[in-house]
C-alpha cells in the first residue's frame, strides 16, 4: 500500500510542474530568477481561491463557467465602494466583495439545485448575465487606479516572508489559508464528505439521507463567495477594475487548473492539493510563455490543450481501471 500523499494524480501534476520549470529554465535562465518566480506566485492566488470552489462543483458532477463574471462583478462592487466611500475600513470592502460573490453564487445554486436546471446552462446564462450586470452597475466606466488605496495594492507587493529575494505576497498567504481551510473541511467535515458522497453516486447519497439539494446549492454558493474574495484580490493585484476585462475568461484557466490537478471530470474525486499544483502548473506555463517571448495569443490554445489532455488522461485512467475514487 502506498502512502496516501503520493496518490498518483498529484504526483503526476507535481512532476509536470518540475518539468515545465526545468524546460523553461534551460531555455531561458532568466525564468528562474526572483522576478519571474514572483510573477508565478502572483498568478496563483486568484486561480487557487476560485479553483477550490470550482473543484467542489466539479466533484458534484457540475460545472460553473460563470466564475470569471462573478470575480469581475465582485471586483467592480468593491471598486465602486472604494470610489464612493474612500475612508472605509478595508474589512468592510472585503466583506462587500465576498457578499456580492455569495449572492450571485447563491442564485446559481438555487437555479441548479432547486429549479433543476443543468449547471452548464445556468452558468452559461449567468456568465453573460453577470458580465452584463458589471456594465450596468459601473455605467460602463472603469474604476481607475487612484481609487484603489495603497493599503489594498500592498497586499500584492508586500508579504510577511521573503525567501531568497522572492517575496511571498499577502494575497498568496490569504489564498493558501483559504485552501488549507478548504482542504481540511472537504476531508474531515461532515458537509465535505457529503459533497464527495453526492459526487460519487447522487442516488445512493440521496437514499442515505444526505440533503443532496442543499449540498448542490452549497457548492455553488460557496464558489460564489470565493469568487467574491478573489474579486477583492483582483482589485489588489491589478490596481484597477475594468468592466470588460476584470475576470474575463478566468473560467477556462480555472477549469484547466482544476482538471490538470487531477479532479475527476465526471465527479466524485478531487483534492485541494491537486488544485494548488494545477494552479502552479498553469502559472508556470504562463510566465514561461511570457519569458520565452512566445506571443500571448498562444495562451488560449494552451488552456484548451491542457483541458483536453486532462480529460483524455482521465479517460485512459478509467479505461485501464487504475483510477481509484477517493
Amino acid at each position: 500500500m502506498r502512502p496516501k500523499f503520493v496518490a498518483g494524480r498529484e504526483l503526476g501534476t507535481a512532476v509536470l510542474l518540475v518539468l515545465v520549470m526545468i524546460a523553461a529554465g534551460l531555455k531561458e535562465p532568466r525564468y528562474l530568477q526572483p522576478s519571474s518566480l514572483e510573477s508565478i506566485l502572483l498568478w496563483i492566488p486568484l486561480l487557487l481561491i476560485v479553483g477550490v470552489g470550482q473543484m467542489t462543483v466539479i466533484v458534484t458532477r457540475g460545472i460553473d463557467v460563470s466564475v470569471g463574471s462573478m470575480v469581475g462583478l465582485s471586483a467592480m462592487a468593491v471598486g465602486l465602494l472604494l470610489r464612493s466611500k474612500p475612508g472605509l475600513n478595508l474589512g468592510v470592502d472585503v466583506l462587500a466583495g465576498v457578499s456580492t460573490g455569495l449572492l450571485f453564487g447563491a442564485i446559481n445554486g438555487v437555479l441548479v439545485a432547486f429549479a433543476g436546471i443543468p449547471p452548464i446552462i445556468v452558468t452559461l446564462g449567468t456568465l453573460s448575465a453577470y458580465r452584463g450586470l458589471i456594465f450596468v452597475i459601473s455605467h460602463s466606466e472603469q474604476i481607475d487606479a487612484n481609487f484603489i488605496p495603497a493599503a489594498l495594492t500592498k497586499w500584492s507587493s508586500d508579504g510577511p516572508i521573503t525567501i531568497g529575494g522572492v517575496v511571498l505576497p499577502w494575497i498568496l498567504v490569504i489564498a493558501l489559508a483559504v485552501a488549507a481551510g478548504a482542504a481540511w473541511s472537504v476531508k474531515f467535515s461532515r458537509t465535505g464528505r457529503d459533497i464527495f458522497a453526492y459526487g460519487s453516486n447522487p442516488e445512493a447519497a440521496r437514499l442515505r439521507g444526505i440533503p443532496v439539494k442543499r449540498i448542490q446549492f452549497l457548492v455553488y454558493a460557496l464558489t460564489g463567495a470565493l469568487c467574491g474574495l478573489a474579486g477583492v484580490l483582483y482589485a489588489s493585484r491589478f490596481g484597477f477594475v475594468n468592466p470588460s476585462t476584470a475576470g474575463q475568461g478566468l473560467e477556462l484557466i480555472v477549469i484547466a487548473a482544476v482538471v490538470i490537478g487531477g479532479t475527476n471530470i465526471v465527479g466524485g474525486s478531487g483534492t485541494v492539493l491537486g488544485v494548488l499544483l494545477g494552479c502552479c502548473v498553469l502559472g508556470a506555463i504562463n510566465v514561461a510563455l511570457a519569458v520565452l517571448g512566445i506571443d500571448e495569443t498562444w495562451q488560449q490554445l494552451v488552456y484548451g490543450a491542457v483541458i483536453l489532455t486532462a480529460v483524455l488522461v482521465d479517460a485512459v485512467v478509467r479505461k485501464t481501471g487504475k483510477g481509484t475514487a477517493k
Binding site: I63, V65, L111, A115, G116, I117, P118, I120, I121, V122, L124, G125, T126, L127, S128, A129, Y130, R131, G132, L133, I134, F135, V136, S140, P243, S244, L252, I255, A256, V259, I265, V266, D295, T297, W298, Q299, Q300, L301, V302, Y303, G304, A305, I307, L308, V311, L312, D314, A315, R318, K319
Partner: protein
C-alpha cells in the same frame, strides 16, 4: 386548439408576435419594413445553422460549446488558404472538411471515450479559437473578392437574401431527417434513454458521433458564410455565439435533458432572438446590456419549460386517476 397549445413551439411563437408588436409600436415603420427585416436576417444565418446542429445535439442529450470557435477556425483557415493562392474551391472544401472533422473529433471523444460533452467541447471552445488566434494573431486575413458578398445576393426575383435561403433549405432538410427518418427517431431515442436505446440495438455511439459531425459541418458552412459576409476573417469572429445558439435552441422548446425538441421550435426561437437583438440595436442598447438580456432569457427559458413540464405532468397524473 388544446393540441396546438400543448405544442412546445407555442411559447416562442407567441413571444415573436409580442416582440413584433413592441417593435412596431416603439420603432415605428423602420422596424416593420419587410426589406429591412429580411436583410437583417443575414446577421443571424450563421447562428441559425449552428442552432440546427445544436438542436440535434441537445435532443440526443449532449451539448456543444465549441461551435463558435469551430466557425472562427474554419473562417481563418479558409481565408488563409485563399491568401496563399489556393483556389477558392479548395478553400471552401477545406473549410467544410475542417469543420466536419472537428465535429467528428468532439463526437468521438464524447461517444467512444464516454467523456462528458460539456468538458470536451469546453476544451474545444478554448482550443479551436486558440489555434485560430495562434495562427492569425491580431491580424485579419482577406477573403478574395470573388467570394465576398453572399448577403448582397438575392434569390432571383425575390427580396429573400441568399443566406436566408441557405438556412431555410438546411432547416427543411434537417427537419425532414429528424422528424421523418429512422436516424431521426434514433436521435430522440438516445436522448430519452441512452441505455434502453443501446439494448434496443440503436447504434448509440454512431448516433452521438453523427450529431456532432452534422454540427461540425454546419459550423464549417457558417464559417464560410461569415467570411463572405464580412470580407475578412479574424480569430475573434462570432465571439460568444454559442450562447445565442444554445439560448435559441432551448427557447424553442428543446428539452435540455434530451429527448424532446424540434427544428421548427429552434427556428422560431432564433427568429425571436434575432427580433430582440434587432430591436435592441435600433434602440441603441449596447452590446453589454444585450448580453445581460440574452443570458437572463436563456435561464428563464429553461425555467419556464421546467415549470410547465411539471404542471403538465401533474395534470396528467391527476387525469389518469
Amino acid at each position: 386548439m388544446k393540441k396546438l397549445l400543448a405544442r412546445r413551439e407555442i411559447v416562442p411563437a407567441v413571444l415573436i408576435l409580442l416582440a413584433l408588436l413592441v417593435g412596431g409600436v416603439t420603432q415605428g415603420h423602420k422596424f416593420l419594413d419587410l426589406h429591412y427585416l429580411l436583410d437583417s436576417t443575414s446577421l443571424y444565418v450563421e447562428g441559425g445553422l449552428l442552432a440546427i446542429g445544436m438542436t440535434l445535439i441537445i435532443i440526443s442529450g449532449q451539448i456543444d460549446l465549441s461551435v463558435a470557435s469551430n466557425l472562427a477556425l474554419v473562417a481563418c483557415v479558409s481565408a488563409k488558404l485563399t491568401e496563399a493562392h489556393y483556389s477558392p474551391a479548395i478553400a471552401i472544401l477545406a473549410g467544410l472538411a475542417l469543420g466536419t472533422g472537428l465535429g467528428w473529433l468532439n463526437g468521438v471523444l464524447v461517444a467512444r471515450l464516454q467523456l462528458p460533452s460539456f468538458m470536451v467541447t469546453l476544451a474545444g471552445l478554448a482550443g479551436y479559437r486558440g489555434i485560430a488566434q495562434a495562427m492569425m494573431g491580431s491580424k485579419s486575413a482577406k477573403v478574395p473578392d470573388k467570394l465576398v458578398g453572399i448577403d448582397m445576393a438575392y434569390v432571383p426575383h425575390t427580396p429573400i437574401p441568399l443566406p436566408l435561403a441557405v438556412l431555410i433549405v438546411v432547416a427543411v432538410v434537417t427537419g425532414l431527417i429528424l422528424h421523418r427518418t429512422v436516424a431521426g427517431r434514433w436521435i430522440y431515442a438516445v436522448g430519452t434513454n441512452a441505455k434502453a436505446s443501446l439494448y434496443s440495438a440503436v447504434p448509440v455511439a454512431r448516433v452521438t458521433t453523427g450529431v456532432f459531425i452534422v454540427t461540425g459541418f454546419m459550423a464549417g458552412l457558417a464559417g464560410l458564410i461569415i467570411n463572405s459576409r464580412l470580407g475578412v476573417a479574424r480569430y475573434d469572429d462570432a465571439p460568444g455565439l454559442e450562447l445565442d445558439v444554445i439560448t435559441a435552441v432551448v427557447l424553442g422548446g428543446t428539452s435540455i435533458a434530451g429527448g424532446k425538441g424540434s427544428i421548427l421550435g429552434t427556428m422560431l426561437a432564433l427568429l425571436l432572438v434575432a427580433l430582440i437583438r434587432i430591436q435592441m440595436g435600433l434602440a441603441n442598447v449596447t452590446a453589454e446590456y444585450q448580453l445581460l438580456v440574452i443570458g437572463v432569457l436563456l435561464v428563464l427559458a429553461v425555467l419556464a419549460t421546467n415549470i410547465t413540464e411539471r404542471l403538465v405532468a401533474k395534470r396528467a397524473m391527476h387525469n389518469s386517476r
